[in-house]
Symmetry: C2
Subunit: 153 residues, 2 copies
DNA sequence: AAATATGTCTACAATGTCTGTAGAGTTTTG
DNA sequence: CAAAACTCTACAGACATTGTAGACATATTT
């Protein structure tokens, strides 16, 4: 359901979402703060950039930034970029379902019909959650623990 | 999200749920009807038996039967038996979440909190669907296609 | 222009999981 | 006993995941 790679990605993206919007962050800093192998994170960030979720700048003073506000980057998008289609079976593919070898009839296969229902629900859930939620949940949890909910500016 | 193994299992279980309740079905018949490699299906059925979803009888006249009515066997149960916990990351395990190596603090990790939400939704969906739904969806689809919805007994 | 800081790309390797196969063994019925 | 059926252990190939290495390209600062 969630790979280590995706978790790394969400952690790094959460980190970027928490930071100030204007300043790029370095791969090395993200890797250290979130305890992610540097070169592995590198590959993840490149994929996210190609997926349009991040922008980067090389050279001194460069680094990575979110390509959009945290509230506009959904979990569905991040997961799809990194792990591909949620459904590893051809007959459940979101866009163009194709017959699996063992599927008798695509339209009347009960297993397929029921699992398609599950996939739709899951997708709706993932479309409804964003990086902003990750930041919010984390902050709520920290405040709750200290017993000092902070409603001030 | 769904492995080939789980799909095979659901197909075979759907087949058993459709058939008459009293008569056991043979591995070989299930394998042929659903186009599943015989020996692989064998391993799947053994796991389901150990998981309490099936009963079997060896010897002539033997075979496999559901251990409960189709409406009482949830997708959640089948998937858990075959693929283990839905969450492959320690920090998201349903019963006893443990810290992953890269998790800083289990209670305030935003990624974990949000993904836990997703897992709960997914689990609720899978708990709400049963073998009876697989049979029902398949029958509805067949009836719809022939243009002869059948509301009679 | 040179030096340095930074991201980019390709290739590879270790490990693990998934899918599938083989064959000997055990239980039950007739 | 003999045949029909499930049971168990072991293995193997393909594939995905995770992680590493190092050469390269780009941008900034001086």
């Amino acid at each position: 359901m969630i790979s280590r790679k995706t978790k790394y990605a969400l952690q790094a993206l959460g980190c970027l979402a928490e930071g100030a919007a204007g300043e790029p962050m370095l791969i090395a800093d993200l890797a250290e703060r979130e305890r992610i192998p540097r070169k592995y994170l590198e590959a993840i960030l490149v994929a996210l950039r190609k997926g349009g979720v991040l922008t980067s700048r090389a050279g001194r003073g460069g680094g990575y930034q979110l390509a959009a506000p945290p509230a506009e980057i959904t979990l569905a998008r991040v997961i799809t970029i990194l792990d591909g289609d949620l459904a590893p079976l051809p007959c459940l593919a979101g866009d163009a379902p194709a017959r699996c070898d063992e599927c008798g009839d695509l339209d009347t296969c009960g297993t397929r019909l029921v699992m398609a229902e599950v996939m739709r629900t899951l997708n709706a859930t993932l479309e409804g959650l964003t990086l902003a939620d990750i930041v919010a949940r984390s902050r709520e949890a920290r405040e709750r623990r200290r017993g000092t909910p902070d409603f001030s500016i």
